[in-house]
């Protein structure tokens, strides 16, 4: 079955700390990969996406993610977090032939303290 795992459920960091959130997906052929962010009380917004090409993708607000095909991983990173990064982060995978549906991970709640 197609599934996406996010290992960290709740992460607490101080401002300026570095961030890495893990995401692994089950094998299912060609995939498109996404990270979405949900700020408190708001809708999902796209942070970044990977379809093909350079496996290191840069997104908005200083976030980046690296696709490692051999590890079925797409980890999200940011060198220095800010208080305003406090949010829920979702990894999502689109498997080929699934009519564009997104399979989401369980989400990681990031709390950044001052």
């Amino acid at each position: 079955a197609q599934s996406v795992s996010q290992h960290n459920h709740h992460v607490i960091l101080s401002e300026a700390a570095s961030l890495e959130l893990g995401c692994n997906y089950s094998y299912g052929g060609t995939v498109n990969l996404f990270w979405y962010v949900q700020y408190p009380g708001q809708h999902l917004q796209l942070l970044l996406k990977y379809f093909s090409g350079d496996p290191l993708v840069k997104g908005i607000k200083g976030f980046e993610a690296e696709f490692i095909k051999s590890k079925f991983s797409f980890n999200l990173r940011k060198p220095s977090v800010q208080w305003s990064d406090t949010a829920e982060y979702f990894c999502a995978v689109q498997y080929t032939g699934t009519a564009s549906k997104l399979t989401f991970g369980t989400g990681t709640r990031l709390q950044v303290t001052l």
Partner: protein, 114 residues
């Protein structure tokens, strides 16, 4: 201009009632979705329509019935509401398959069944 808009934003209703949530997108996309986010923030697809045609119907009780009068609208009707239906329901849309299939999400509808 709101790209994907849902109404209402909040919906509180009693068990057994029938309710509808409306969704409209002005992005010119062909594909629209309904996702459900439960109390643990887990997101799961419910339905997807492409040009008014149902293409994804996950394991959802038949009390839930999507309706797409045209490709810019996808409404969700729920009969005989149950306590377990309480969740946030997100509408989304995406361009035609084959193009970049990033999904754009609405603000969500928080449904509370009492």
């Amino acid at each position: 201009d709101t790209a994907v808009s849902q109404t209402p934003k909040y919906l509180v209703t009693q068990m057994g009632n029938d309710k509808s949530i409306k969704c409209e997108q002005n992005l010119g996309h062909d594909t629209m979705y309904w996702y459900k986010q439960d109390s643990k923030k887990f997101l799961k697809i419910m339905f997807s329509y492409n040009n008014k045609e149902l293409i994804i119907n996950e394991t959802v009780p038949n009390r839930f019935s999507p309706k797409s009068p045209d490709k810019a609208h996808l409404n969700l009707h729920i009969n005989s509401l149950e306590l377990g239906d309480s969740a946030v329901y997100f509408c989304a849309s995406s361009p035609p398959t084959g193009a970049f299939t990033e999904a754009f999400f609405g603000q969500g509808t928080r449904l509370t069944v009492v």
